[in-house]
């Protein structure tokens, strides 16, 4: 009797394991690409209300050639992905004079993905390219505003690839290569 019970238990456990694999494991492994490594930005975040962190955001320096780092209070995010989203939302938000942002007006964060290798994929709205003034310097400042905002504040993020309107792009305005993730650039920071 006890042997039958043990056998039945084993069969039951195997069935539960297979069921878990089929209905929980496989969809996670073979489902949407970002499901395993990241979460889409549209998902609500779990942020303690009112909790803030200090983060360095980047704006155009007086000489117009470099970025200057400004410390801001940014909403706390639970984990690197959520914190990255909060930092980016603060970085692309409109600013009041005399501060000048290198991110074109109207630009919003559409989605954010983070791989376990420390690569962040930042999907920005089409305004980041369509409303761009052009010029190599402006484009460099725009791109590295985003790249530096993540890599300087979050050690878990080492490189950043900018996407536009959900797609990989060659450049924003014809100059800076965006086909690969970019590392931080301190030469551009004052």
């Amino acid at each position: 009797m006890s042997r039958q019970a043990v056998a039945a238990g084993l069969v039951g456990a195997t069935a539960i394991a297979l069921g878990s694999l089929l209905f929980a494991g496989l969809p996670r492994w073979y489902g949407p690409v970002d499901a395993r490594t990241a979460a889409p930005s549209a998902a609500p975040t779990t942020i303690a209300p009112g909790r803030k962190i200090k983060a360095h955001l980047f704006y155009v320096a007086e000489d117009g050639l470099r970025l200057t780092s400004v410390e801001h209070d940014v909403a706390y995010g639970d984990g690197p992905l959520e914190q990255a989203r909060e930092i980016l939302n603060a970085q692309v938000a409109p600013v009041a004079e005399p501060t000048v942002s290198a991110v074109p007006p109207g630009t919003t964060l559409r989605a954010l993905f983070l791989t376990d290798r420390g690569v962040a994929f930042v999907d920005l709205s089409r305004e980041v390219a369509a409303a761009h003034t052009g010029g190599t310097d402006s484009e460099l400042l725009t791109v590295y505003t985003i790249v530096n905002a993540l890599t300087m504040n979050l050690p878990a993020i080492t490189t950043v690839q900018v996407l536009v309107d959900g797609k990989e792009v060659e450049t924003l305005a014809g100059h800076v290569d965006l086909r690969r993730p970019l590392a931080r650039n301190l030469d551009l920071v004052q």
Binding site: G135, T136, V169, R179
Partner: protein
């Protein structure tokens, strides 16, 4: 090799058909096709153009590469021998054997078929396939297996009554040269040739060479004027290229005007034995050979892309073209070198095409002309950029290990491979040296920016296989500079300074000076 063809086409007829149809197809804006080259033949894979992005059907790839394609749980899974690619509709990211990659566009459905960007072949399929798969997007080739498919480019320089035809094969491929009357034939030791749609652009002025054409999949035919007097062929490896130089002598007594077309029947011409080397031509690889023979000038933007627009209406694309034309005129007139413009008028041209024009013509120098913009309208001055790469990219290109390939007749040969996107890595020191020279010449003639030189991952420079810089003339966002740059005086001063820089750079190369002690300067 696991690759098996579904259809076998006669390679010669397909290549000839492709060469004949390519210009017409491109001219009509029809989507071209990918040509797949494998050990057992060639096949065409249709492409579909959607918003200027080339797509290929997964079904077509599956048929050619024995892939299994399944759609389930909102994802498209592509499998090959236990390795899996997972694509998600509306997502440009894909999982390739567990690694995340990005594509330039998301997969899209066309009827019952799934279309993927053509880059899928190189980024997703190649890593999981058990043979080498190389996508050459500019020439629409997919090479499967360890095949030798050198890129062929030609250049002609008139020298006295003769001329010099340079034929480059990259990666290196040896060739044999033979003559039949007024025709020289160059047969390459390769599996196939990667030739541009137009193998040879005939110069405007009458020259000894009337045309270069593909006479069979591995042979170029050089059509010569009847006053051609003889030739000397020499070949030498240059970096990853095997350079064949044909020094051509003009006939001394034949004053017959050149025919307007090459002879249609090469066999009817009277065979002429090769003569001794023409005495008036310089040695092919001697010290006296000019260090700069071709300069490629790239006027930035163009067509629908106006670039920066000044507050007074000056457009970057127009300014760049105006300066480029002036520069071409001055360099050609004073130095007698060939100067190419990547665009001669106001039209769209892709970034890859700009680099390809310079590379295919074996330019010795590439300069991209632009005008800058700043979010602050007081910023002013010129800046000269050269390319920067990540350390791992530069190391990857520098350490590109030669592939050991078998040769006809036995034996092995090392062939160096350099990725298209990393071609500039080997020229960074010279590009930096040229940048410094240019800034020194510009310094007391036009305003310079506070940071007049820079290094950045600039797309147009990365694929240039020669010293290359991008010049920002000044800031169109600054109304004073806009007015200044639009004027003839500013443009002529810049052009003169650039000319002086080229002369100094050429002289330094002639003198054998090191281009600078700069190492690869990468972003950290």
């Amino acid at each position: 090799m696991s690759f098996r063809p579904r259809f076998l086409f006669p390679a010669t007829s397909l290549l000839a058909l492709g060469l004949m149809l390519a210009p017409a197809l491109f001219g009509q804006g029809t989507a071209p096709s990918l040509t797949l080259i494998a050990r057992d033949g060639r096949r065409a894979i249709p492409l579909t153009l959607v918003a200027d992005q080339e797509f290929v059907a997964l079904d077509d790839l599956a048929a050619q590469f024995q892939l299994a394609v399944q759609e389930s749980l909102g994802a498209v899974t592509v499998s090959y021998k236990g390795k899996t690619i997972v694509l998600t509709p509306d997502q440009t990211l894909a999982s390739v054997a567990g690694r995340l990659i990005s594509l330039p566009a998301a997969p899209s459905r066309s009827g019952r078929r799934w279309l993927v960007p053509v880059e899928f072949v190189g980024r997703a399929l190649a890593p999981i396939y058990d043979s080498r798969v190389e996508l050459r997007k500019p020439s629409h080739l997919v090479i499967v297996g360890d095949l030798r498919v050198p890129r062929i480019s030609t250049r002609y320089d008139a020298i006295g009554s003769g001329g010099r035809l340079t034929i480059d094969a990259s990666p290196r491929a040896t060739s044999t040269v033979s003559q039949d009357g007024d025709h020289i034939f160059v047969k390459f030791d390769a599996d196939a040739l990667d030739t541009p749609a137009t193998v040879f652009a005939a110069p405007a002025a009458p020259t000894l060479v009337q045309g270069v054409r593909l006479v069979d999949p591995l042979t170029l035919g050089v059509d010569l004027l009847s006053r051609f007097g003889g030739f000397k062929a020499t070949s030498q490896p240059v970096d990853d290229t095997m350079r064949l130089v044909l020094d051509l002598a003009g006939g001394q007594t034949d004053t017959t005007p050149p025919p307007s077309n090459p002879p249609s029947n090469p066999q009817s011409a009277v065979p002429t034995p090769p003569s001794s080397p023409p005495p008036e031509l310089p040695p092919a690889f001697g010290q006296s050979a000019p260090a700069i023979r071709t300069v490629a000038i790239d006027p930035g933007h163009g067509g629908d892309d106006a670039g920066v627009r000044g507050s007074n209406g000056v457009k970057e694309k127009d300014l760049a073209l105006s300066v480029a034309r002036r520069l071409k005129g001055l360099l050609e007139a004073r130095l007698g070198i060939r100067v190419l413009l990547t665009r001669e008028d106001d039209r769209n041209i892709s970034i890859d095409e700009r680099a390809a024009i310079a590379n295919n013509n074996k330019a010795d120098l590439f300069v991209s002309i632009h005008a800058n913009a700043s979010m602050r309208n007081t910023t002013a001055g010129a800046t000269v950029y050269h390319a920067a790469f990540f350390a791992d990219a530069a190391q990857a290109a520098g350490a590109a290990r030669p592939e050991r390939l078998p040769t006809f007749g036995g034996g092995l040969r090392d062939v160096e491979m350099v990725p298209w996107d990393l071609a500039q890595t080997r020229h960074l020191a010279q590009s930096g040296a040229f940048s410094d020279l240019l800034i020194a010449q510009l310094g007391d003639r036009i305003p310079l920016a506070l940071r007049p030189t820079g290094e950045a991952p600039l797309r147009v420079l990365e694929s240039a296989n020669m010293p290359a810089v991008l010049v920002e003339l000044g800031y169109l966002s600054n109304a004073t500079q806009e007015k200044q740059m639009a004027g003839e005086t500013f443009q002529n001063v810049f052009v003169q300074a650039f000319y002086d820089t080229v002369v100094r750079y050429r002289d330094s190369l002639h003198a054998g000076e090191a281009p600078g002690d700069r190492a690869s300067r990468d972003f950290k």
